[in-house]
Every structure is written in C-alpha cells, then in structure tokens.
Symmetry: C2
Subunit: 321 residues, 2 copies
C-alpha cells in the first residue's frame, strides 16, 4: 500500500537535510545534500528536486508526496520568502515558496528553523497538550519559537520570536547581527565558548580549557569537563544559564508559557545548562509566575527536529484546509 508523507526540509548553511515524514511523525527516509556550490537559488532547487525524485524512485515503498515544509534561516511564513539569511549564499529577498512550487508542483510552506522546531514539539513531541510554550534552539546561535493560543507567533511581518537578539548587556559583546550585547552572543554554542575563555582570563584556576584552542572547543567537550569537576567548565555553564534564565523570565512576563523546551547541541548538556537556567529564571520571576514553569529538554533531542518541524508545518497546513 502506498504511504502518504510530506517532505520536510531543513536548510542549513552547509547541509540541507530532507526527510519523508508521515502524519504520526515517523521519518521513513532521510538524507542530505550540500547547500553550497550552487550559483543561483534556481540551480539549488533544481538539484534538490532531482535528488528527491531519484530517492523516491529508488525506494521500495510507494510514497505519496502531499506537500513540502521548509525550515530555513530568516524564512518568512507570511511572504514565503527567505530574506537576508546571513549563512546562505543567495542574498536579498528570495521568493523561495514561489520557486519551489514552480519546480515541485506541490504546496510549499516555509518558516525559520526555530518556529519549525516549536511545531515539531507540538505535533510530534511533548507539547501536544500545550497551547502556550516556548522553544529555544541552542545551536551556533540562539533561535526561538513562541506558541500562543496554539499558534506559532509570526507577528506583523513574519519575523516574530527572535530572542537571540534581546539585550542582556548594554554595550556588551559584539553579536553576529551587528548589534552589541545580544543574548545569542552569550547563550549559544559560540556564546558559552566566549564565556569559557573570558573565565580563563578572569581567574588562575586550573582547567582543561586552557589546553584547547578556541577554534577547537565544542559544547560537548565542556559537558565532559564539567562531569569531571572542571571549575571553568562548570562556571561557564552557570554563567550561561544565569543569562538564559534571566532572559527567559522576561519572556515569561511577555507571554506566560506553560513550559520552556531547549533544543540543540548546548541543550544536550542537560542539567549543566538547565539547572542554572531554572534557578536564575525563578530568581528573576515575579511571584505570580514562580514555580509553575519547567525548563526541559525537547522530546525530540535525539531526532532531527528541524526536518520533523518542517514536516509538521506542512502537515498542520494540510490538516487545516
């Protein structure tokens, strides 16, 4: 029997991940192609199309493709565009949905990766019963998807939910966005690295971090060091969690979510990042919000949430028609 699926696509700076996802969230097939090496967006989409069609032909099961969901940096749900994405080769405002529909002849929806992750958690993860929650993705940067009254918040222009760029310190660290003092410059894979080296400068404490060049340090190495009691690694998590919790308290004051999910490499540090975040959030919350809101790892932490989320996006659209 033929299996109905959608195509979930996660466009990253280096790789584009794809997956065939059924309505229950099962990934029947996954693969990736390079995002780089195409001069124009049209060439990239043609290559993506060819790859998907070849894969579909080669699979034993007959898959019926109902639509395509895409998570992409600066993906705009309303406009169907990808706008000024810092990590992609194609500059300006790309009419992505239009080009994709022209190539695939299927309904296509796009949003940013963190919004897709929030939808993934809502359809296939631990947010199935939640109408108000927050998804924080801790990758190279910090992304966020906000869900209010059961819907992802896109805002007036489709760009809502960009908590990576709320301010934590006036005149603080230089951020990739051009501003200074943004949350993502402190709380992200690169943010915690910067903090670890800041700590090396501040104290004379012995630490494994002193033996590793900045360019080689990864969050999972800090987790391993923290497990062994490395004081710099532990303090780096504490300081990172302090700022994440402080920022999340402000987010709670905005939308009062039932739960906050963490996803991404840094979220895999588990208690090392979650405990100080939770402590700091509670310390910064008003009484009426205290002791109600959990910070938890995403249920999809070990899965490809970006592909699942992109698939959730199009499933949600197909089911609401």
């Amino acid at each position: 029997m033929a299996q109905e699926v959608v195509l979930g696509i996660d466009i990253g700076g280096t790789f584009t991940k794809i997956g065939l996802v059924d309505q229950s969230g099962e990934i029947h097939f996954e693969d990736e192609i390079s995002t780089r090496g195409y001069e124009t967006i049209e060439e990239y989409i043609a290559a993506l199309h060819a790859h998907v069609m070849k894969s579909l032909d080669s699979l034993e099961t007959t898959f019926l493709l109902l639509g395509i969901g895409v998570g992409a940096p600066n993906g705009n749900y309303y406009e169907g565009t990808i706008e000024h994405a810092p990590n992609l080769a194609w500059k300006g405002k790309i009419e992505f949905v239009k080009l994709m529909e022209h190539q695939f002849h299927l309904p296509v929806v796009v949003t940013n990766d963190a919004n897709a992750a929030a939808l993934g958690e809502m359809l296939f993860g631990d947010a199935k019963d939640l109408k108000n929650f927050v998804m924080i993705t801790l990758g190279t940067g910090l992304g966020s998807g906000l869900v209010v009254n059961g819907d992802v918040v896109y805002g007036h222009d489709g760009f809502a939910g960009d908590l990576g760029h709320v301010l934590v310190y006036d005149h603080g660290r230089q951020c990739g966005c051009g501003k200074k003092g943004c949350l993502e410059a402190y709380v992200s894979a690169t943010g915690i690295k910067r903090t670890a080296y800041e700590l090396l400068a501040e104290s004379n404490e012995d630490s494994e971090v002193r033996k590793i060049p900045f360019s080689k340090l990864k969050p999972k190495m800090l987790t391993a060091m923290a497990e062994k009691g490395d004081p710099v690694a532990i303090k780096a998590f504490d300081r990172t969690g302090y700022l994440l919790g402080r920022a999340l308290a402000d987010t709670v004051a905005h939308i009062s979510p039932a739960r906050i999910f963490l996803f991404g490499g840094l979220a895999k540090a588990g208690k090392w990042i979650i405990d100080p975040s939770k402590r700091s959030m509670e310390d910064h919350l008003m009484t009426i919000y205290q002791n109600k809101i959990d910070i938890v790892p995403s249920a999809l932490l070990s899965k490809n949430i970006a592909v699942l989320g992109a698939a959730a996006l199009i499933w949600k659209k197909l089911n609401s028609q």
Copy 2:
C-alpha cells in the same frame, strides 16, 4: 427607544470608575465611587450594585444592560479572579466574577487594566485594523497589553503581558514587586521622578526640579519644565525614553507588532517621551525590524480608556457568542 449598553468598570486603588458604553464606544453615562472603605469584597460589590441601579433609574434614557466588563489590577481573564492585587484592600485570590454575577445576574468578564486598554484601542481606537500590536500604560506603574493574531495574550495562566517587570538593570532600583531593576522602577510616573532626582545628584545643573520636593513632583510638571528648556527635565525624559525604547526592542523581538501605543499620564508628555523612546528602540532593533514600527499615543488618551477597554472586553465576548 431603549439603548443597549454594557457597563465598563475600572477598579483603581482609590476610585472605581464606571461607564455605560454602547457598541460604537460612546460613553452615555460615567461616574465613580470610592474603592476604599469596604471591609469585605461583598460589601464593595453590594455598594457598586446599588450605585449602578440607582443611576440607571435616575437617567432619562432607558438603558438595557447586556453585560459587565471589568479592568482590575491582577485581574485574571481565565479564572475570573483578582489575585494578590497590591493596591486593593482585599487580599488573596478573590472570586470576583462569581461574586459579581451573583449580585448583578449579568455576564461578567474581568482582565487587568492594561489588557482592557489594548481591547479599548482595538474596538474603539486606532488599532481597529491591527492584528498585532502593543499597548503600554504609563501610570504609577507600567502595564502592558499584547495583541497577537487579533487576540489579547493571556498566556498559560492568564497573567501574560507584564512588561513592567522585565529586567533593565541587574541589581537595579528596588521595585514595588519585590524584585530589583524592573522596567517600571524606571519607566512610569514614579520611575521618571526617581530619575529626575538621580540627575540632581549627578550634576550641578540648575533646574526647577531642585525647588520641588519628591512627593510633589508630577510628570506633567516635568513636561512643562522640558518645554521651557529645563535640562534636568529633558534629560529625565531622555533617560526614561532610552530604557523604554530598549525594552520595546526586546518586545519587538518577541512578537513583532505593527505598532506600539502609549497611554497614561506619562504618555501625555508626547514628543518628550516618544522621541527618545523611538530613537532608542530603533538603535536596539535588528535590521529586519527597523523603521517599520511606530510608537504613538493612544487615540483614547483624553478619554477614559480603562472604562472603554473594560466595556470592549464584554462587547467582544457578547459578539463572539
């Protein structure tokens, strides 16, 4: 002919304002009673009821009362309660809607005053065409109502939208809520006063503020001084606007509103507060949000927005049935 109206009620710490409001937002009758002097909430509600009935009987027009909307500090839309309101005599969690419906035998809805103001702007003001906007009320404190996808954001527990208590400075000024460094300790009628006296301490500049005791200074006096070029008054507005704009940039990163409305005594300062807020907001926004979002005074600035907003709340509910 009889005129259909709802009763809008704005419960303040000192006075309770009431108004009979038709569906177009016209206030046909307004009045106030004291909020103080009643030992129990039941006595207060009985007095309120008696006053409304007497007023209705005394009016020439026959008014048909369809429902009651209430704006109250810490009013919880979901629960129909007023919970731990700092300015009211009745402590704990009050089953306000239940008690009101028992007394009036009419449908009653409650929310906090800033959410009511947002609804007032949406039904009767300049937000009629807007699905995503922010209302900031600058009174003794700072309240906020957030509108996303055409609905006020109540959040998981009914307490969303409390921007008065987002953090502006770690270990900053003591706030009335018990925390330190909250926005409302800087941006509000009392916040700008504190800033004005901080400025007196910082510099030796001549200023009218030096002649006025703290307890007597009002925002409108600062506006009058600013108009005459008083450097301390102007700097107090600049510093207040700087922090408001900085906080609003973070709010934009959360929900990306089309417009931001200001209401309340401090909002009447007009350009003195709006211009520095706008400058600072733009300076703190990411490029994708810049030059799209206006900060404007509420269209209802000279009217009783709290009563109109409370009326809007119940009109919205009646019309959605």
